[in-house]
Symmetry: C2
Amino acid sequence: MSTIPITDRTRIRRLPERQQTDRDQLYAALDDGFVAHVAVVRDGYPVVLPVGYGRAGDDLYLHGSTGSGIFREIADGRPIAVCITHLDGLVFARSAFDSSMNYRSVMVLGHATVLDGEEKEAALEAIVEHLIPGRWAEVRPTSKRELAATLVLRMPLAEASMKVRAKGASEEEDDGEDRSVWAGVLPILRVAGEPEASDLTPAEVAVPASVRQAAAKLEGAFAGSTF
Amino acid sequence: MSTIPITDRTRIRRLPERQQTDRDQLYAALDDGFVAHVAVVRDGYPVVLPVGYGRAGDDLYLHGSTGSGIFREIADGRPIAVCITHLDGLVFARSAFDSSMNYRSVMVLGHATVLDGEEKEAALEAIVEHLIPGRWAEVRPTSKRELAATLVLRMPLAEASMKVRAKGASEEEDDGEDRSVWAGVLPILRVAGEPEASDLTPAEVAVPASVRQAAAKLEGAFAGSTF
């Protein structure tokens, strides 16, 4: 089992037992996600924005428009923090204080570098395949003009931490709480709705494999898709 | 219709047509969410972390432990940025470039202030009722010790912006794209799983109203719950 090294900045001090250092768990949480929240400092103030991302190996890939001022600032190498969070359940304890949520949250610290040429195209493919597995082969090749309008960044997973709560409501035999109050967990799942074809998609064009695979990714399994 | 004033920092410059200024839409997006991503500057570096929140009127409430160093820093009034994002769908265009996501994202800028006394208790109730409607009345009152261990912060929605994409795949009659490639939207929904009672909850204790209401909040409607 490969572990994620803990640095002074990524050591979880509050509820340290929730720190998860198994690299495969980190990969799985990243691969389950679609949107990262990226924080950057602008004029001394923090800003945070949602960004679509991908992962390959120990690199996270971010992409954005060359027309976005904030994304250009992220691309110029200033320090960023990237957070991907999954809310997995609501935890019903017998007190407000012990009420909680089950979650997996990854934070990555560092800075991003701009990719060009073949690396850029490969990273763009990794992002598309991360978000919609199988879609890259279905769509036409990206044009030079489109590539030029896109900033693709690499951020290594060099300094990363993961915090997880994945258990039932806190309770002890001798906690004195009223057992007539229901305690437990309400799991939260993300599922796909029915695909909605665009106006210009001919009726005879079937829903493609990528849509089914995206639904499977959403649901974490191939079960459940009905189309 | 009340609108959200746009400031120099909250004006959306990239795809400005996605800026949503209807205050009721802002409230709805906030009320649909559970976890905010809060960014703060520490030693010159950005940090971002997930935080449970609530809303009442034009105030956002955040809560955390007095044992969390980063939360104490947020509580000391330094500038923060708070982002709440809903991923509503994957958008399948006929090119990677036009592939997209449907989303609602709210960013709030400013700083938080610490609440005490009755305001603190009322805000804590607002957070619990936001996350799990109906739960406050089911659990025992919060003790003085528990209250003392909890930091409850108010952040006004004074400087906020909302960005929304809520439409089909980009396509035009004359765009020259191959119509045999399926385009459209795969909606993403969040649903509740089956409630899992804790080990110490007697079998005769029924799943309470708060669990059903949390499931309804997750699904955005009372339809769909089977328990």
